[in-house]
């Protein structure tokens, strides 16, 4: 379980996280939603020990993030940020290999290699393994990052807007993959999304943030209601049932 206990993080006068208490990781896929500046990325930064909370504690499986050695956490929790800009010329295989760093510290064992091969294989990256990342398309590169996270072999996987800059086909591909991570690999995935409908289709639980506070936290049917959505986004959202699944219409 990832537990936030009265966590506050301020940037200047604005609170990016305002006294948030939240438990994540009880179900396979949790989607984190909310308008821009709601505090989603800050929440990831605090959980992923990139920034220190001003108040409150974050624990992962009962261990305080601020006090647990970073290298230990790296074997429990993997965080993939948005807009991964990698200036270094690395091959797909190099990148996936670095996913094993928390376990291997650079000296790969047979088990490490096994994890790398499985991750490459699972994401169909075998033919691309010796290609440099800057030679890949956006979708391929995102798959390579997911393979790296997979090789890291952690119980918790945090993905910050993994659909950014992807076309429709690759968005669906990544979302299906996230579902599989939970169902087939037994991982607990927490993913920041912008598209309500992707969240409704693929997540088990949806948490919405706004102005640094949790404003909604429910399963899909409890979340996909016009009154809930309108409150979060400050604009009217219709919800229709299409083929028995709720779909939000916010294009008006």
């Amino acid at each position: 379980m990832i537990a936030l206990d009265h966590v506050t993080k301020r940037y200047g006068n604005t609170a990016a996280l305002d006294d948030v208490s939240l438990t994540l990781g009880d179900v396979g896929v949790t989607a984190l939603l909310g308008p821009n500046g709601a505090g989603k990325s800050t929440l990831f930064s605090v959980v992923g020990r990139l920034v220190q909370a001003d108040a409150g504690t974050v624990t992962i499986d009962g261990r305080d993030v601020a006090e647990t050695p970073s290298s230990d956490l790296a074997r429990t929790l993997a965080v993939l940020r948005q807009d991964n800009h990698i200036a270094a010329r690395l091959t797909v295989h190099d990148l996936v290999e670095f996913g094993r760093f928390p376990h291997s510290k650079g000296r790969l064992t047979v088990e490490d290699r096994d994890h790398i091969e499985r991750a490459l294989d699972y994401l169909d990256l075998e033919p691309l393994r010796d290609r440099f990342l800057d030679e890949l398309s956006g979708g391929q590169r995102q798959r390579a990052f997911v393979a790296m996270i997979l090789a890291q072999d952690t119980r918790y996987v945090l993905l910050d807007e993994p659909l950014n800059n992807l076309d429709l086909r690759h968005m669906t591909e990544i979302m299906r993959l996230i579902r599989q991570l939970a169902d087939e690999w037994g991982k607990t995935v927490i993913v920041v999304l912008h598209d309500i409908n992707f969240a409704a289709r693929y997540a088990d639980r949806i948490v919405a943030l706004r102005d640094g506070r949790v404003v909604a936290d429910a399963d899909v049917s409890g979340f996909m209601r016009p009154d809930v959505l309108a409150d979060i986004y400050d604009s009217p959202v219709e919800v229709h049932q299409i083929d028995g699944k709720p779909v939000a219409l916010y294009y008006e």
Binding site: A87, G106, P127, D130, Q152
Partner: protein, 337 residues
């Protein structure tokens, strides 16, 4: 199963033979140039004279030619490594100690020792220069935190400006104190004065290459950025601190031995990056080897072009290095566009 096994071995063979050839070529060039470097000079030292038991030739070889060749190889290899490490730390391909103010800071350190402690032993001078180099690296890293990583060209520009400011301060005081000539000794790199007992400080630089080699994977991970490094459980600040020390010690020890050698740390890692990529564990032997070959070749040119006189090595390195750098910038697919 056989299918995947096949593709696994097939894919690398596409590029590996060529890399192996280039690698072998670098190795052969290193040996040939090193041997040539031993036998080029005003006095006659030839393999024949050595076999004949010429005592003068043997003395010259041990006292001058071998130290010079070793110094050139170590300086070339380590400066190229310093460039590589700095590029990983800054996540920018266009930085190296001499374009980021580090060398200028170290030179300022040298000036300070000349003014305050003129009789100081060389090891003390190197220590002060290293300390100034550390400050210089730290200042640069602090300043560029304000520059977005994606501003590829702005980062080295800031470095060059920083170097310009520090260099101007150094020149001002050197001019006022009538020390410009002593300073010129270091601002123009040359191995002409290298002799037994006067070059051993490059071994400090060589030690830093070993440190870089051991920590190679950590520098690769650092090159992915602070967020990636933290996610992978790496102590980001500690690795940055190790990298800062590596850069400062290499810069200072080469500076006290030979002086400033520009462009090397810029050009060599970039060429290697094109060939084998930026996984530091893979690229470090290439960078070290090519760095050594490059400076050896330039040193031999500097010694022969106006034989029996020498021209400063930094002139040759500057001309060839600047040319290569321009090519790197203007070639198709360069990221500077």
């Amino acid at each position: 199963m056989t299918d995947t096994a096949l593709t696994r071995t097939d894919a690398p063979t596409r590029t590996r033979p060529r890399r192996a050839w280039v690698g072998a070529l670098i190795g052969v060039a290193l040996v040939v140039l090193a041997v040539a470097s031993l036998f080029i000079g005003v006095s006659d030292v030839t393999p024949a004279s050595l076999i004949a038991g010429d005592a003068d030739a043997a003395f010259l070889l041990v006292a001058s030619r071998v130290p010079r060749t070793v110094a050139v190889i170590l300086a070339g290899a380590s400066l190229a490594i310093a460039g590589l490490i700095m590029q990983m730390m800054v996540r920018n391909k266009f930085v190296e100690p001499s374009t980021t103010g580090v060398t200028e800071f170290a030179t300022l350190g040298m000036l300070v020792t000349i003014v305050l402690w003129p009789g100081m032993a060389v090891v003390g001078k190197m220590g002060v220069a290293t300390a100034f180099g550390l400050v210089g690296t730290w200042v640069f890293l602090r300043v560029i935190r304000a520059v977005p990583v994606r501003q590829l060209v702005l980062v080295p520009l800031v470095g060059v400006m920083l170097g310009g400011i520090v260099g101007a301060v150094t020149t001002f005081f050197a001019y006022r104190l009538d020390l410009l000539q002593s300073l010129g000794q270091w601002s123009q790199g040359s191995f002409a004065t290298v002799m037994q007992g006067r070059y051993e400080f490059v071994w400090f630089a060589a030690a830093m290459v070993v440190v870089a080699w051991i920590a190679a994977d950590r520098f690769s991970v650092i090159g992915l950025g602070e967020e990636f490094a933290t996610n992978l459980g790496l102590n980001y600040r500690r690795v940055m601190a190790i990298g800062t020390c590596v850069i400062a010690v290499i810069t200072a020890s080469v500076l006290v031995t030979a002086g400033m050698i520009p462009f090397l740390g810029l050009v060599v890692p970039n060429i290697v990056s094109l060939m084998v990529g930026d996984n530091v564990r893979r690229s470090i032997p290439w960078v070290a080897g090519l760095g050594a070959v490059f400076v050896l070749a330039c040193d031999i040119i500097a010694r022969t072009v106006r034989f029996p006189y020498e021209i400063p090595l930094s002139v040759i390195v500057g001309v060839i290095g600047a040319g290569l750098f321009l090519w790197l910038l203007l070639r198709k697919g360069s990221r500077a566009h």
